[in-house]
Amino acid sequence: MSTASSMDSGESISALRTIARGIELSPELKDGFAGTMAFAVVSTLGRIVVPVAVQQTLDRGVGAGGGPDLAFTGVVAALAAVAVLLTALASYQMTYRLFRSAERGLATLRIKAFRHVHDLPLLTQDTERRGALVSRVTSDVDQVSQFLIFGGIISIVSVGQILIATVLMAVYSWQLTIVVWVCFLPLFASLRFFQQRLSAAYGVVRQQVGVMLSKVSEPVVGAATVRSYAIERRTQDRIDEAIDRYQQASTKAQGLTAFSFSLGGVSAGLANAGVLVIGVLLGVHASSGTMTLGKVLAFAFLVTLFVGPVQVGTQVLTDAQNAIAGWRRVIGILDTPADVVDPGEDGVPLPAGPVAIEFAGVGFAYPGGTPVLHDVDLHVAPDTRLAVVGETGSGKTTLAKLLTRLMDPTSGTVRLDGVDLRRVPFASLRERVVLVPQEGFLFDATLRANARYGRLEAEDADIWRAAEELGLSDWLESLPRGLDTRVGQRGESLSAGERQLVALLRAHLADPDLLVLDEATSAVDPALEMRIGRALERLTKGRTSVTIAHRMSTAEQADEVVVVDRGRVVQRGPHAALVAEGGVYGRLHASWVAQQASLP
């Protein structure tokens, strides 16, 4: 078994591999890259050419030895203006193209990740982590996009400027170029060190944000509990502590950022001093002609062209840490293997008609957990109405999940109509086998849209017919807006019982040959309760049905009952026979009878 129930955080992937994998997942990022680079080169050159032109004009035009040179100034200024405009055009093209390919690529990544999340067992097993999954397809991707565009622009241009400035400097004096690089080497060498520290510091910040948000939510979400136990003081102390910790972590990270950012300036100061000092020494001591005053001053100017992009570039590296972490998290999702794999075209579709079920030596354990089911052998004839009964934690819900292939067994085989479930294509499986989960989840749309979720092509007439068949048409008619009723978020505008009704209507429209029902447990109005019971009865007619029963009355009405105890099937037969047999079922039944009898 894979361990896909834990989400791959991707922490182990290196930055370069993350980027490589990211590009592989979003091929649009490569689209037109050569063109974008060409524009980037023009735009970078422009950023060097313009200041150089300005410098030349000042030196030779305005301040020329024999008075200002009007013609020269005019020509250079005109050329420089053209260069400025060309640079602007190239920058526009570069930025726009980067935006376009990054947004396209990331939309693809988002959609791929979203699709893959639906294949992760985590989604159905660990409801509390859903929020984290949502942020992977939303804010994490946004973070990457910001970085790809602005980080992309700035790092391309900065690296280009650094290279060009280095070449220009080398043209003037290779010795002074070495001096400049030597002054910056400690900065470049310390980058890695600072990146690691920064990454760790921001990791702590993110963690503390989570803690703080959870503590801050306590007096809101738990208002009644906090108030009724009079623990305001303690709650406030816990919140204050979390706020303090977050503040400390943020301040520490900010301090580190500020310090690392200030290093570039120190290097620049050293480089300026170094150029002047070494320049003077070269001029005075080396053979004449190596170094002139003009060369030294021109070089001092070139150093400023070198320093600017270094400062900006190191800043980008800091942001990159966050963005790459986000990218890693999204890739982590996509690289988490799905537990349950669709055989697709190679599979064997299920034949039509009520389904026969077979469990052969089925066992199941959650990754790293103790076995939940052991050696389950079970045959169910087509068109049987089966109830599964057992205490909490006996494994009956697991049985339902294996039957609908929300998970695969750890050992043994589940077969429908003799076909191993793992070989049934999802298209066929989801059409023939439908699970009605415990709480009827509805989407924030109309009742019609929710019913049609069972069969997308269903017309209103089909929905009304289905309602008729389940005995729900008078209920549907009683709703003022009928099929147009908005059900609200998670269906919360309807009562729990009404949500159940919609779920049953949806299942009926889907018209499966095997219906797996996880009985609802929430208390509903008695009148609705009876209606649900009647609808269920009609819904299960003419199909094989397996109900995870939480009520003894459901078991009584089933054709057959299977009793699960501590992960094993311990009893099987019709209700009456099992009562006579005693055992676990006898005990469950007796406890129920006792409860009934305790009332007159």
Partner: protein, 616 residues
């Protein structure tokens, strides 16, 4: 997810309000603000000084050295010292500016988060009921963050203004004509910025709204994963998500196009300005109206100041969000109406408390009455079941008994004392509520049971045993020290309810109020819990339990039958069955679900109840 709120373009009102909000922060943290601003000014001044150092070095050391062909070590050392000193001071400026801005921002966030959560703890539950949970959470989080976001660029902006004033006056002093030519860049930069904001802000608003919609689709789709999966609708869900993702992409690309067009313009304008200064400058030098040095100085000052103008744009750009966030936070801080308390303290006896409900009526502000003239008494040590159809007022009644809300009419008395006369916190020593939806704190099992009180572990285990929670707690990896909540162990609905019950029992309350508190527990387990509650015998607490199941009703000495917010009848179950036809109908309907447990223990239990208490 907080819905996208409209970010209106920065008009004069927002600008004024934005500065007003900043004023609040500056008054609150004047020291650190001054420090970071000084840092920023230092940085700006030293940026200008860098050029002077170069000039001085050239004039006094480099030029003479080349001229004389000789160099003095002292001169070279001075150059190094000057450059390094300027660089170090500038580094100090950067650290002071950035760290100062950060510290100021985090401090303001912390002040306001503390203040807001204190309000949440002070304001009555009735106030909480009138405000959606999501809104209150975003008031404490994203609104506080938005309110103080402009602090980050603030020192830089102040420093920029200082630098601009210095540079512009220097330019004017150097050569008025050249300065005016150069300063023409400023209005152009400002106009470009304004046009940019106009074009960009509707796109940003749209993108923000689409981001919220995208997130909603993802939330909903993942929430309904069981339905999606079991009906094989992953493809349709992906299409639904893809549609939003593509619309967001298109808006983002359009916004990107605007940005791609304006950024180069904003970068080009100062360069063109410098070229204009050069052209005019060379003419003026030719004319003899100025000298080359002045042209150089004005051109240089212009390059220094024209880029940081944009930092003012960053500051003003944060204003709309900041003002909205601040106002939302302020409305929480301005809310009034906390509960008032008396002085009385009840004596702590070991026996059950006496409960009197006298003529109690309750309604939400402006809503229809939920409870009307409710009167009944529970004698010490008795157990009463409250029975009634949905929306008959049962949960409202329980919240009155623990004084989450006060009745509109009538009074609730404990041992003869009106709850409103009791001192703050005094009621909790005697009464415990176990709500329908258990709320667990981000804490250990022990912390969740004791809630910080000093209770020996044996008593914690005893309470867990009574609540039938000892079994699963013992099986947790760290027992009582296991962490629960978002980053901890996931518990099922039934397990949460049992912990919540243990939390009440460990306090040995004299009145225990249970609001359908065992709905997600197996019937067998529930029977054991009820037996444990009843068979305690040592000090019989008074118990009031909202009951849905016959087994729960069976536990009670008496039943209070509610309908439409009124007591229909009160008496032993058998008597009510006989004399009250409505009651018989109700209870017999329940019989169908008399064995109506959750399936809480299964590790795969889908959708355990949210950790949310709804008092309403």
């Amino acid at each position: 997810m907080s819905a996208a709120r409209p970010t209106q373009p920065a008009h004069a009102g927002t600008l004024r309000d934005g500065f007003r909000v900043l004023g609040v922060a500056i008054r609150r943290e004047p020291g650190i603000f001054t420090l970071s601003t000084l840092g920023s000014v230092l940085f700006g001044a030293l940026t200008v000084a860098d050029a002077s150092v170069l000039g001085w070095s050239t004039d006094h050391v480099v030029q003479p050295a080349f001229r004389d062909g000789d160099v003095r070590a002292g001169g070279l050392l001075t150059i190094v010292a000057l450059f390094v000193a300027v660089a170090l001071l500038r580094a100090v400026g950067i650290v002071a500016r950035r760290l100062g801005a950060g510290v100021m921002q985090y401090r303001m966030q912390a002040h306001y988060r503390r203040a807001v959560t204190r309000q949440y703890l002070r304001l009555p539950v009735s106030w909480h009921q009138q405000h959606p949970t999501g809104q209150l959470l975003s008031n404490a989080n994203s609104d506080v963050e938005a309110a103080w976001a402009p602090i980050a660029p603030l020192p830089m902006a102040v420093g920029t203004v200082a630098m601009m004033v210095i540079a512009v006056s220097q330019m004017l002093l150097t050569d008025v004509v050249l300065a005016v030519v150069g300063l023409l860049v400023f209005p152009l930069v400002i106009v470009t910025n304004v046009v940019y904001q106009r074009l960009q802000s509707p796109l940003m608003t749209r993108a923000q709204a689409l981001r919220a919609e995208l997130s909603e689709v993802a939330h909903e789709s993942f929430d309904g994963a069981m339905v999606v999966k079991s009906l094989g609708r992953e493809g349709e869900e992906t299409e639904r998500f893809a549609e939003k993702a593509h619309r967001l992409r298109d808006v983002d690309v359009r916004a990107g196009r605007v940005r791609a067009a304006f950024d180069p313009v904003l970068e080009a304008l100062p360069n063109l300005g410098v070229l204009a200064v050069l052209l005019v400058g060379v003419l003026r030098v030719d004319h003899g109206s100025t000298d080359a040095g002045n042209v150089v100085t004005v051109a240089y000052l212009l390059t220094i100041v024209s880029f940081p103008i944009r930092s003012l744009g960053w500051l003003v750009g944060e204003f709309p969000r900041s003002v909205v966030g601040f106002e939302r936070v302020q409305s929480v801080l301005d809310a009034t109406g906390e509960m008032t308390y008396g002085e009385r303290v009840l004596s702590r006896s070991s026996s059950g408390a006496r409960l009197d409900v006298r003529g109690v009526g309750y309604s939400y502000v402006g809503g229809p009455p939920l409870l009307r003239e409710l009167t009944f008494t529970v004698a010490p040590g008795r157990t009463v079941a409250v029975v009634g159809p949905t929306a008959s007022g049962k949960s409202t009644l329980t919240s009155l008994l623990v004084r989450l809300v006060d009745p509109v009419d009538g009074q609730v008395l404990l041992d003869g004392a009106d709850l409103r006369e009791l001192a703050a916190g005094a009621l909790a020593d005697h009464v415990a509520l176990v709500p329908q939806q258990a709320f667990l704190f981000d804490d250990t099992v022990r912390g969740n049971v004791t809630l910080g009180e000093d209770v020996p572990d044996e008593r914690v285990w005893e309470a867990l045993r009574q609540a039938q929670a000892d079994g699963f707690v013992a099986a947790l990896p760290a027992g009582l020290d296991s962490r629960l909540g978002e980053r901890g162990t996931t518990l099922s609905g039934g397990q949460r309810q049992r912990l919540s019950l243990a939390r009440a029992l460990v306090r040995r309350p004299r009145l225990l109020v249970m609001d359908d508190a065992t709905s997600a527990v197996d019937p067998e387990v529930e029977a054991r819990i009820l037996a444990a509650l009843r068979g305690d015998g040592r000090d019989d607490a008074t118990v009031l339990v909202v009951a849905y199941r016959k087994a729960t009703i069976a536990l009670a000495d008496e039943v209070v039958h509610l309908r439409d917010g009124r007591v229909v009848d009160q008496g032993p179950h058998a008597e009510l069955l006989e004399r009250s036809p409505g009651y018989a109908e109700l209870v017999n309907a329940y019989e169908h679900e008399a064995d109506d447990p959750g399936d809480p223990g299964d590790p795969g239990d889908p959708g355990g109840p949210e950790a949310q208490v709804r008092v309403r």
